[in-house]
């Protein structure tokens, strides 16, 4: 066991896989010489050399195109898109090419690549550098979507994503970078499509992801003080989606809350809520409640951003009102 920050876990996880597979390469802006703007790739250039860790121009379409073309022809690739907001400048490659090529070609093309990107708010970067856009990728058939909340999951799910033969979009949360956690020694390999029950409970289920997980847990602790027992689930991956775990939990607790950083409309919480409302409707004792960022662009000012993104307080109050 070693304690790592979420930030360091990224390079740690990538290095584990680069040692294992000598053909694995990575490309992106400022990732090599500079070690990444979030310092998540520090040391990789020294360990693996400029042939495998490549700095690129500011050309996101060229980055994802190079990754896709290499992956199609036998070289697994990790491509970094610095901020997830920038997926919009290369969205044709993400949504129309990388995601669809296998199906369109009747299975002729295989694209073993991972798109790593810094996601989420809390850094006061404003509307173009703070978005949570995991729903942008979840909605596209052909993409797998991962968003870890702990250093151990960063390492394990990074390995699982890299070893997965299909394209995976891997969301690293900016506001979790400094958080710490234990990572087992030796090879760490997780599994896509397995949610984690972070905290057991009997009165309600709170489904969360990434930065919302620690907030949901803290809210659950405050609820416990009020005698409300909340079960907290970390989805960890949105595609494949572990519906069994949250459906089982909701069947047990009879109430479901989702906590998402996506702005309200068509966030992943809507998908969870619709699955719950369709498949375990008869087990529900009350409305399915979504807690989301309001449907607005994210403001830059500290005070405003803190009001926009679901807080421990808001989660706590919402559940308490709904159950009290």
């Amino acid at each position: 066991m070693a304690e790592l920050t979420y930030r360091d876990a990224v390079a740690y996880g990538i290095a584990q896989e680069m040692r294992r597979d000598p053909s694995l390469v990575m490309l992106g802006e400022d990732i090599a010489g500079a070690g990444g703007v979030f310092k998540t790739t520090v040391g990789l250039l020294d360990q693996f050399g400029p042939g495998r860790i490549r700095d690129t121009p500011i050309s996101e379409q060229a980055i994802l195109g190079a990754a896709m073309g290499a992956a199609m022809t036998g070289i697994p690739v990790i491509a970094e898109i610095m901020f997830s907001d920038f997926l919009a400048v290369c969205f044709d490659l993400v949504a129309n090419e990388i995601a669809k090529s296998r199906y369109m070609t009747g299975g002729q093309v295989q694209i073993p690549m991972v798109i790593r990107t810094a996601n989420g708010g809390g850094s006061r970067f404003g509307a173009q550098h703070s978005q949570s856009v995991e729903n942008w990728c979840m909605m596209i058939p052909g993409l797998k979507v991962v968003a870890p909340s702990t250093p151990e999951d960063v390492v394990g799910l990074m390995a699982a994503s890299i070893r997965d033969p299909d394209p995976v979009v891997f969301f690293e949360h900016k506001s979790l970078m400094a958080s710490k956690g234990q990572v087992p020694d030796g090879e760490v390999v997780g599994k896509l499509g397995e949610a984690r029950i972070v905290r057991e409970g009997s009165d309600c289920t709170i489904v969360a992801l990434a930065l919302m997980v620690p907030r949901a847990v803290e809210a659950a602790e405050r609820l416990a003080a009020d005698g409300i027992s909340a079960e907290v689930i970390d989805l960890r991956t949105l595609v494949p989606l572990d519906t069994r775990t949250f459906l089982g939990s909701v069947s047990k607790t009879s109430r479901c809350f989702t906590v998402e950083e996506n702005p309200r409309l068509c966030g992943w919480g809507a998908e969870i809520a619709s699955i719950v409302a369709e498949e375990v409707f008869w087990d529900l004792d009350g409305p399915v409640v979504r807690i989301t960022t309001p449907h607005i662009p994210l403001p830059a000012a500290e005070s405003l951003e803190d009001m926009a993104i679901p807080s421990v307080e808001r989660i706590y109050e919402t559940v308490r009102k709904a159950l009290g």
């Binding site: 050309s59 073309g69 022809t73 070289i75 090419e97 009747g106 295989q110 499509g193």
Partner: protein, 356 residues
């Protein structure tokens, strides 16, 4: 406030026709073996007859959706088809029938795909705009402008990393030179010195809009070469020999680690942009003039001048006709794909499950 009704933009009606240059007689003497030339004649016949048949099947409403023919542009796919090695990579657009066949894909499987049958080369999932044959190095037909130039870089990068001397070629049109991905792809290819060729099939039109109306330079590709430190290369896209020699040279350089090239092959499509389009927007005389520069009769004449007996060419033509008939029968014999395949091949495990 009201907008100036005519800001004096160059407009269709007044636009002069862009006529073809005459064939360069010196091209008779290019250093190309007669055997290669005969194979290029045959390939051009295959592409021509295959697409004429595809057009007929359209008219019989057997081809659903859309399709984009290269009738009149066959010399380009042919010149490159012969210059590439079996393990090189081709990336094409929705106008990709010719490039797919030129790499060796079976005519029947391609025809069946156009008809949306289960014996199609993509099992009916992709259709005319996405023809792919990985076993022949044909890495896909991309229907949204621009992206595949970036993807071709990736295949070339992969070859470079794997230490093979494979070359990747991306074919695209004149209109495609104005999209952002073109710029990103060219720059990265040069910076990384990738073994990739960018081949602009300049047929003078995007869909219906003449390229001159929307492009800052007269040569949409060659006029941009210097922005990447590349040589401006323009070839006669209606002369398979000219294309072949340009391709051979660029391929050789790329294999030897001399990096990418940008080649503009000037040509013309005989028909409209796609099935629906009658091509009415083209000025009087333009189509006729280019019909007079049809690459195939021209090439026929050249081979006669070079001593190939008329009879040999005739039998090639007839043999191709037979193969196209067979391909058509094969395609028509296919079934419409059924429920069973709808949900397959989204993932590498063969399925499409997004949940447990």
């Amino acid at each position: 406030m009201s907008i100036d009704p005519d800001p004096g933009l160059l407009d269709y009606s007044t636009r002069p026709a862009r006529l073809p240059h005459p064939v360069d007689p010196a091209n008779d003497n290019l250093e190309i073996s007669l055997d290669t030339r005969v194979r290029m004649y045959e390939l051009q016949q295959v592409l021509r007859q295959f697409e004429k048949r595809a057009y007929d099947l359209f008219m019989q409403n057997l081809v659903k959706g859309t399709s984009h023919l290269s009738l009149g542009m066959e010399a380009i796919a042919t010149g490159f088809g012969l210059a590439l090695r079996h393990d090189d990579y081709t990336f094409a657009t929705y106008r990709g029938h010719a490039h797919t066949i030129a790499r060796g894909a079976a005519l029947g499987a391609v025809m069946a795909e156009l008809l949306g049958r289960d014996n199609g080369i993509l099992g009916g999932k992709g259709g005319s705009m996405h023809l792919t044959s990985v076993e022949h190095g044909m890495m896909g037909s991309y229907a949204i402008i621009g992206a595949h130039l970036c993807v071709a870089n990736g295949a070339a990068w992969s070859a470079q990393m794997r230490g093979t001397d494979q070359v990747a070629v991306a074919f695209f049109g004149d209109g495609t030179t104005n999209i952002g991905a073109f710029h990103e792809a060219l720059n990265l290819a040069v910076v990384w010195n990738l073994p990739v060729l960018f081949v602009c099939e300049n047929n003078l039109y995007m869909e219906y809009t003449p390229i001159d109306l929307v492009t800052a330079v007269r040569n949409p590709a060659a006029g941009r070469a210097s922005a990447y430190g590349l040589d401006p290369i323009v070839v006669d896209g209606n002369d398979a020999d000219a294309v072949y020699v340009a391709a051979r040279t660029a391929v050789e350089n790329a294999r030897r680690g001399k990096g990418p090239a940008l080649i503009e092959a000037v040509t013309y499509r005989h028909g409209g942009h796609s099935r629906a389009d009658p091509g009415k927007y083209r000025p009087a005389g333009e189509v006729e003039a280019w019909m007079g520069r049809d690459p195939i009769p021209m090439y026929h004449q050249r081979l006669l001048r070079l001593g190939v007996p008329e009879g040999q060419l005739t039998s090639i033509t007839q043999d191709v006709a037979r193969r196209v008939d067979e391909a058509t029968e094969f395609a028509k014999a296919g079934e419409r794909p059924t429920e069973g395949v709808l949900m397959t091949d989204v993932w590498a495990d063969g399925g499409s499950a997004w949940r447990n």
